[in-house]
């Protein structure tokens, strides 16, 4: 448990001496602290025996109760792992980004973020959980506003903290109500209370879904993600998107564990929320020009996928279908880890691109894979993984999710079969759109030729930034190829999350891992054939001449880079198809006459929920409230009148 102390130690040191040393200390604190933190997590996962500790805490309605059980350990590993990776990446990223003394402080917030995430995950006490949760909500605020000279960053920070706080309000109510009923804020006591009040359990579930969902970024509470992620430094966004929003998922899982036997409609609710977030997330992503905004929306999508899995699992539990429950939860939980890996990778890649080309606007980029071989390849692997293409890790969890869908489909019960069909179709749509989106993202950024002078001047980034990306990319491949083992290994976690016996879970998972073995064999064939084909091609071309010529431009001899297909034009067909949701605003100045003068076209896809729902509501509220002005307009007579009237009113009221 010394993990937290150590992390905070490193953090404190980082803020203590803001300078090059501060950077070193901050990085060291993060790496060492997280490394030490990994030890108990791995130990627990290995022996599957929870470790806990109690401490004295005189805060009424709170107790210092920490515990690492299998689920906690499972969530701790991505947190700490990603923290290490991002820390290794972060230093060289920060050193060139901003004045050292200012950026050194960001280590403090980064480390506090990691520490608080860990604390949230190991807390077993309502108040302690909330405390850690709030700290976890606060520290990213300073990371988002890191570049506070930009108005956008400030607004992003505001949006972020406001959104999370509103979510936290629900959690406050939830925990206080539970604590009030249980008489103690200890998690163990909650379960007992809820078993006696089923309706209460449903209410609590709703509160949890809203509260944790806001943090996880489900539609429509997702609005802060596309604002906050682009604003923060890339390694911070990686940590936020890779780990922090997963803590929201952790909260939902933990509550489900406490709530005991679920009801069917919870599963439906989760599936509905997951489907909405998944589809809308990827749709909004399609329409973005900014690489990091695009990635942020994909976080929304992936959270949706995770919730779909958990939803299927809950449905399985509620209707007594062990296979469904197990595969569903396995898919959801595994996707947590996978998303952590490839989303972390992609954000780090985006950071590298920003360093190299000084912009993240897709329309300015292009052809980066030639100067940036490593980054490009890593980013490609990440993209393929997030799209769910074989043989990478993304495919594994999506395979499980599809499998659960197909299991449900073959079920005689009409309701379950329908659920399965919904999952399959939604997932199919999501992966299709995601493929389109990342074909665009990777293709426009790294392929073709540069669309601007900055892009042309791009160079590969420093080695400390490359290494983490390569490492994560390797993980993507590894998990993809070692799928059966990975799935089989997750038995303990799934058992803990579903509350089933490990043995039973193991049997169900054995089926899945068996299937995946088959899949891996096919991958092997794929790879072998590919290698052979490559070699064969090489031999064929060995003798003959392989000249380079300009690309075929339909007869036009002088194509310029500006004439390449742009990101917006690539996405245009799908965007128009789904304009009901995407609401792209276009500004077109068509060319006129035979010798047209300047003509222009620009499109911008803001978030419809932000522009059509939240912003108007806020403006309306401001208008309403500012009418209060009249009661405070400076006339002392009226003020005295208030006093008098209050008195008289009370006197009369009390006399009756």
């Amino acid at each position: 448990m010394a993990i937290l102390l150590l992390l905070l130690g490193g953090a404190g040191a980082a803020v203590g001496l803001p300078s090059r040393i501060g950077h070193r200390v901050g990085q060291a604190g993060a790496v060492i602290g997280s490394a030490i933190g990994l030890i108990p997590a791995i130990r627990v996962l290995a022996v599957e025996v929870p470790e806990g500790m109690f401490g004295v805490w005189h805060m009424p309605g709170g107790a210092l109760h920490l515990q690492i059980d299998v689920v906690s350990a499972f969530f701790l590993i991505p947190v700490f792992g990603l923290s290490i990776v991002t820390a290794l990446y972060g230093r060289s990223y920060l050193l060139v980004s901003k004045s050292e003394s200012e950026s050194a402080v960001s280590w403090f917030h980064l480390n506090v973020l990691t520490a608080s995430m860990a604390l949230v995950i190991v807390a077993r006490d309502g108040l302690l959980f909330l405390l850690a949760w709030e700290i976890m909500a606060l520290s990213p605020f300073f990371l988002v506003i890191f570049d506070d000279r930009k108005e956008s960053a400030r607004h992003a920070a505001w949006t972020y903290l406001a959104a999370t706080h509103l979510g936290t309000a629900f959690l406050l109510v939830m925990f206080v109500v539970l604590g009030g009923l249980a008489g103690t804020s200890n998690f163990d006591a909650y379960g007992a209370v809820l078993r006696d009040h089923p309706p209460l359990a449903s209410a609590i579930f709703l509160l949890a879904l809203i509260g944790f969902g806001a943090k996880a970024g489900v539609v429509p509470a997702h609005v802060w993600l596309p604002e906050a992620h682009p604003a923060a430094p890339s390694h911070a966004s990686a940590l936020m998107s890779g780990a922090m929003i997963k803590v929201g998922i952790y909260g939902i899982v933990r509550m489900l564990m406490m709530l005991g036997p679920p009801q069917a409609w919870w599963g439906w609710a989760l599936i509905a929320v997951g489907a909405t977030s998944g589809v809308l997330g990827v749709l909004f992503a399609l329409a973005q020009h900014d690489l990091k905004r695009l990635l942020a929306y994909h976080s929304v999508e992936n959270i949706g996928i995770i919730l779909l899995g958990i939803g299927v699992g809950v449905l399985g539990l509620a209707t007594g279908q062990p296979p469904l429950a197990v595969i569903g939860f396995a898919a959801g939980l595994l996707h947590v880890v996978n998303h952590c890996i490839f989303k972390g990778l992609l954000f780090l890649g985006a950071g590298a691109v920003q360093h190299a080309a000084h912009t993240l606007d897709l329309e300015e980029l292009g052809g980066l894979i030639k100067p940036m071989r490593w980054t490009g390849t890593a980013f490609l692997i990440g993209s393929a993984a997030i799209v769910g293409l074989p043989p990478l890790n993304g495919f594994v969890s999506e395979f499980l999710l599809f499998a659960s869908g197909f299991l449900a489909v073959t079920h005689p019960l009409a309701a379950i079969a329908t659920a399965g069909l919904i999952v399959i179709v939604v997932m199919g749509l999501i992966s299709g759109l995601a493929a389109a989106c990342f074909a665009k993202a990777f293709g426009i950024v790294f392929l073709g030729s540069p669309r601007s002078t900055e892009g042309a001047a791009a160079h590969e980034v420093a080695r400390p930034m490359i290494a983490p990306m390569v490492f994560l990319a390797a993980l993507c491949v590894l998990i993809g190829l070692a799928a059966p083992a990975v799935v089989a290994a997750s038995a303990g976690v799934v058992a803990a999350a579903t509350g089933m016996r490990v043995g039973a879970v193991g049997d169900e998972l054995a089926m899945a891992s068996g299937a995946l073995t088959g899949a891996v064999i096919v991958f092997a064939i794929l790879i072998v054939v590919g290698a052979l084909a490559w070699a064969f091609r090489a031999r064929l071309l060995a003798g003959v001449a392989v000249p380079r010529r300009p690309v075929w431009g339909c007869g036009y001899r002088f194509p310029s880079p500006r004439m390449q297909y742009t990101a917006s034009s690539f996405a245009q067909p799908l965007v128009t198809l789904f304009h009901l949701f995407i609401r792209t605003r276009e500004a077109l100045v068509p060319p006129k006459g035979y010798f047209p003068a300047a003509s222009s076209y620009s499109s911008d896809s803001g978030d419809p929920f932000l522009h059509l729902l939240f912003a108007p509501t806020f403006r309306w509220f401001d208008r309403m409230v500012s009418r209060l002005n009249v009661i405070q307009h400076g006339h002392i007579h009226v003020y005295v009148l208030y006093v008098a009237l209050t008195l008289v009113a009370l006197l009369i009221w009390e006399s009756f």
Binding site: V409, V522, I525, I527, A533, V546, G553, Y565
Partner: protein
């Protein structure tokens, strides 16, 4: 014996796939009243491509070279999970249909990236259209497979197709019929045939698939054509396997029936291509979504 049969089926696929195009073109020519190219034209073409050298665009990178290879590899790998009617696929396991979809997606992804690598606006356009249709085709395919799975209570292509015999047809006629229609549409979309795309057009602006491979040449082009043939064979055998429910005990008989079915399919495609004109691009999505709804309807019919 079944193992031997599935091996034989695989070999047939690898060898006979290009023949399908021959048959298609021959049919079209026949309907148009021409003699048309020889049946084995594609084989000669492939041989020629492999002998030729290659020319590469100045802007292209290694991805451009990798694209065709991956396309070929995915097609080949996909063959191994595709059952040939009653004859099981070499590799068959729970959820292999997911792997099939995944492999097709991977191949498409590689092709699209290779196209974007050229930086040519035409190929970018083609890539965009391809992704546009694929995003809709993928759920449609999965929907169709899900319906079949629901109808047969199996989650593996091989077992599903083994279960589709005459009895099953009589049991769930409307379901199978509707799903078959979906598969027909998907066949046309995935293999970019008329009325979705015209492989023989000569105006880049109207192309979808062909425009993406404009800059490929030599062995790469050969790979691409061969992969296309394999893809046609794969989806074709899914369709034919559904339409030809010959599940006699004798595998060789089944094999023969299937082969006949494939030839028939090729003829049918030829007829369609000579009978119909290409849709306007914006109609294609409706075409696909409509097909998907057919499967959904089939599913719902099956439910109640």
């Amino acid at each position: 014996m079944p193992a031997l049969a599935s091996l034989a089926a695989t070999v047939c696929a690898l060898v006979l796939a290009p023949l399908l195009f021959g048959i298609v073109n021959r049919t079209k020519a026949f309907v148009a009243g021409r003699r048309g190219p020889p049946l084995l034209q594609l084989y000669w073409d492939l041989a020629k491509y492999l002998r030729r050298g290659a020319v590469y665009g100045e802007t292209t990178s290694w991805l451009f070279r990798l694209g065709p290879v991956i396309g070929l590899a995915t097609a080949a790998a996909a063959i191994t999970v595709t059952p040939f009617g009653g004859i099981g696929a070499p590799a068959s396991f729970t959820g292999d249909l997911i792997v099939l979809a995944g492999l097709l997606a991977l191949g498409r992804f590689a092709t699209v990236l290779a196209a974007l690598d050229t930086g040519s606006s035409f190929e970018g356009m083609g890539a965009s259209r391809e992704m546009h249709f694929a995003a809709l085709a993928e759920p449609a395919l999965l929907l169709a497979l899900a319906t079949l799975a629901h109808a047969t209570d199996f989650v593996s292509l091989t077992s599903i197709y083994r279960a589709i015999d005459a009895a099953a047809w009589t049991g769930a006629l409307p379901t199978f019929a509707l799903t078959a229609m979906t598969l027909v549409v998907l066949l046309l979309v995935e293999n970019t045939r008329i009325p979705v795309d015209d492989p023989t057009t000569h105006l880049e602006l109207t192309m979808i698939h062909e425009v993406m491979v404009l800059d490929h040449s030599g062995p790469d082009l050969g790979y691409i054509h061969y992969a296309a043939a394999l893809k046609l064979w794969i989806i074709g055998s899914l369709l034919v396997g559904l339409l030809v429910p010959v599940r006699s005990g004798d595998v060789w008989l089944d094999l023969a029936a299937m082969l006949a079915g494939m030839v028939g399919l090729a003829l049918a495609i030829g007829m369609v291509e000579s009978a119909m004109a290409r849709y306007r691009l914006m109609h294609v999505p409706q075409f696909i979504v409509g097909a998907a709804t057919l499967s959904a309807v089939a599913f719902i019919i099956r439910l109640v």
